[in-house]
């Protein structure tokens, strides 16, 4: 199958979407393409046409038909995830599709996603489930992949819900997730005989022990103003519960509410135990401090293990302890990463085939083979190769009664960055918090109003 015998992207778009499949374009398609190619792709196209008109959810994807070039825009810019995606791409079974990865620095990618989505250079993009995916789907910037979903197996309802936009169609394929918890060094903990705290008082007691032993209890990094959002999330979910957290992120609760203030009061108790100057430290630098045994605990995603091979060996984690026994400790941040398709990809067929492949256990095994800091979304993935961290993550997520996607994924991005500023200023000078929260609440009103009206 060569490129010359391949229908143009525009024709494909029409065929795959089942729009205006006139007799003329059918003839043109089959004239341009070799008989066999055209025949098989036509069956697929007609199939999708039928089901779209009839049953809900679209048609299905027949793997192996696609060919041509496909560009994956990736924000996996750190070494390990980058190599992991390369392994996934290398294991893509359809050799007629020329896959290329276009990697952009993680932060840059996120800030420029608008431009990237509209630039038309990439067909498939790495992205996040939930609010952040819905947001772009609702703007019409993403391609509907409900037909991919009707071919997907092994992904639970929760994943489908996290991939569904306001119109009830799917725009996202979850690849893997990871959990946020308190990470620690096994070596240090067994040396010093520390044990997992189950309550807030035990946590503070442990911190006292560590401080007395010359170890800084909590690592603190906040370069990029996102790492400490995780601390806010978990403290809010422990202090006020998952539902309040969702409402607060959704803009329906006030930031001047006493319950929000209580989160920061609790947080203030941890600050004397935390590394100073967190705003000027990258998460990698703090992870190295944990590896060196100078800090005892580090609330971060389990991706902290990917900082070094030694860390991957030595890291353990535990669920953030309960603060209020009426609320418990079963909610957590477990952001789901995956892929979405731009609204009009240059190669829609290959894009959908790749997205289907991403959801499979094989692709996820290939990824996890290189980057074992995440957990596969597909229930068929090989859990026998899971290390302790992955098994623990899967157990945590499975037992969770509420899974948040992380502050910067759970609310309007504009507002999330306003929250990030407040958190960064708070950890530097907690005495400013009342003024900061009053300001933030004003911004919330303005930003949600702008968002709702445009």
């Amino acid at each position: 199958m060569t490129n010359a015998s391949y229908p143009s992207p525009k024709e494909w778009d029409r065929l795959v979407r089942g729009k205006n499949v006139s007799r003329r374009s059918m003839l043109k398609g089959s004239a341009a393409a070799g008989a066999v190619v055209a025949g098989s792709s036509f069956l697929a196209a007609c199939g999708s046409d039928d089901t779209e008109a009839g049953t809900e959810g679209g048609g299905s994807i027949e793997p192996g038909n696609a060919s041509g070039a496909l560009t994956i825009g990736s924000n996996l810019s750190d070494d390990t995830p980058k190599a992991a995606l390369a392994a996934v791409v290398a294991a893509f079974p359809n050799s007629d599709v020329e896959l290329s990865i276009n990697t952009t620095d993680h932060n840059t990618f996120q800030e420029n996603i608008n431009t990237i989505l509209q630039a038309g250079e990439d067909d498939v993009l790495t992205w996040f489930a939930g609010f952040r995916n819905k947001f772009f789907a609702d703007q019409g910037l993403l391609g509907d992949i409900s037909d991919v979903w009707s071919s997907i197996s092994g992904l639970g309802e929760g994943f489908k819900a996290a991939s569904t936009a306001s119109d009830g169609k799917q725009y996202f394929v979850p690849a893997f997730y990871y959990t946020w918890a308190i990470n620690n060094s096994k070596k240090l903990w067994s040396e010093k005989g520390y044990t997992e705290p189950k309550t807030w008082d035990e946590l503070l007691g442990l911190a006292d022990d560590m401080a007395a032993g010359g170890i800084t209890p909590f690592a603190m990094a906040n370069d990029g103003k996102w790492p400490q959002m995780g601390m806010f999330d978990i403290l809010n979910m422990r202090t006020n519960g998952y539902d309040f957290h969702v409402d607060l992120m959704g803009g329906t609760e006030s930031w001047t509410d006493d319950r929000v203030r209580q989160v920061f009061t609790n947080w203030e108790q941890l600050l004397p135990y935390s590394q100073e100057g967190g705003n000027g430290r990258t998460w990698q630098e703090a992870a190295t401090d944990m590896e060196n045994g100078t800090v005892g605990m580090y609330l971060l995603g389990t991706f902290a293990a990917s900082n070094s091979d030694a860390m991957a060996e030595d890291m353990d984690f535990f669920n953030f302890p309960e603060i209020d026994s009426a609320i418990g400790s079963s909610a957590l941040d477990a952001p789901i990463d995956g892929y979405q398709m731009v609204a009009s990809p240059a190669n829609a067929e290959a894009a959908k085939e790749f997205l289907l492949y991403i959801s499979t256990a094989e692709a996820q095994d290939a990824y996890l083979g290189v980057d074992p800091s995440v957990v596969a979304s597909n229930s068929g993935a090989d859990t026998s190769v899971y290390n302790d961290l992955q098994r623990k993550s899967a157990d945590l997520a499975n037992a969770a009664t509420g899974i948040a996607q992380f502050l910067d994924r759970d609310t309007i991005p504009d507002f999330a960055s306003a929250c990030g500023d407040v958190i960064a200023e708070f950890i530097e000078d907690p005495s400013k918090i009342d003024g900061l929260l009053a300001d933030l609440d004003e911004k919330k009103t303005a930003i949600f109003a702008d968002f709702g009206s445009s």
Binding site: I113, A424, D429, I447, S453, S454
Partner: protein, 310 residues
């Protein structure tokens, strides 16, 4: 008819081309975007589809001064700090170095390359270098030299936004000064090269005459060289102001720590962010435009006054 007889057809074509193309480019790349920015600042738009654009009057401006006022004032002040430091520190240093290097020291080419080197790098790269090599809390040059690398004893150069020079609720934050340092480092080399080029063109006989009249080194510089380099001085002033107002890249690659907002960061944050708020971003842009205009108007008035006096 007289005009056309003076210029041949091809001459006229060249003339139209030389006037027309730059004019088109100028209008297309400067005026249209500027006017569009002003118009967009009166709308609420997420940047996706035109049909969602809404006219909201002065709402964005009212919000800038009532809801986002802290960001705005911090940014305006920070732009001003950059201007102050580039003007009072970097520019005099660049001029001084140029003046010294103009004296045909041994190895002057080596020193010139040394001071000019940072200018070759983009400010974004300069930022990366300073962040990882100089400011890193645990292994950065500064903390290593100061012996402050131990856990709990580290100086957070980029993370400390407390004010070194407080001015009410605002001020010059320590980490912003840490960002200004590399800007100054780079600007010195820039100014040096510009001034050095100017110094080469100063008539040596003027220097000799001043020396014979018994002028001191300072008098020679102040009374003879500096005034004769007026065109270069003007270029340097304009470049310094523009650099200060457009400062963006280094702050952006350093992930814009708390306390380091500048106008261009607020513009891009509002517009380039995932949920672009084109209206508010444009309003920030208009404020940046007005700051530039303020300078341009002041500068042109001085120029015209100078012309009238002559």
């Amino acid at each position: 008819m007289a005009g056309s007889s003076l210029l041949s057809k091809s001459d006229r074509r060249v003339m139209y081309g030389m006037v027309g193309v730059p004019t088109l480019l100028h209008v297309g790349l400067v005026w249209i975007p500027a006017i569009a920015t002003i118009l967009l600042s009166f709308t609420n738009w997420n940047g996706f589809r035109f049909d969602t654009m809404k006219f909201v009057g002065l709402q964005n401006y009212i919000q800038l001064f009532t809801v986002f006022e802290k960001d705005l004032y911090e940014a305006l002040l920070n732009n001003l700090w950059v201007l102050v430091f580039l003007f009072l520190v970097a520019t005099p240093m660049g001029i001084l170095i140029a003046y010294l290097l103009d004296k045909n020291l041994r190895g002057t080419a080596f020193y010139q390359s040394l001071f000019y080197f940072p200018v070759v790098l983009s400010l974004a790269v300069v930022g990366f270098i300073w962040k990882s090599v100089i400011y890193s809390p645990r292994q950065g040059v500064l903390n290593v030299i100061l012996g402050r690398t131990a856990e709990g004893d580290q100086i957070s150069w980029l993370g400390d936004s407390s004010f070194l020079i407080p001015l009410g609720d605002y001020g010059l934050s320590k980490n912003f000064l840490a960002l200004i340092a590399p800007m100054v480092w780079r600007h010195v080399g820039y100014i040096m090269v510009l001034y050095l080029a100017g110094l080469k063109s100063v008539d040596p006989s003027m220097k000799e005459a001043a020396a014979i009249d018994g002028a001191s080194e300072w008098q020679l510089f102040r009374q003879v060289i500096f005034p004769s380099l007026k065109p270069v001085n003007v270029v340097i002033m304009v470049i310094t102001v523009i650099e200060a107002l457009r400062i963006f890249d280094i702050i952006d690659v350093l992930n814009n720590p708390v306390g380091t907002d500048v106008l261009s960061i607020l513009v891009t944050e509002s517009i380039l962010g995932e949920s672009s708020n084109v209206g508010r971003g444009s309003a920030y842009g208009v404020i940046l435009l007005l700051s530039c205009l303020l300078f341009v108007v002041w500068y042109l008035r001085n120029e015209f006054r100078g012309l009238e006096e002559e």
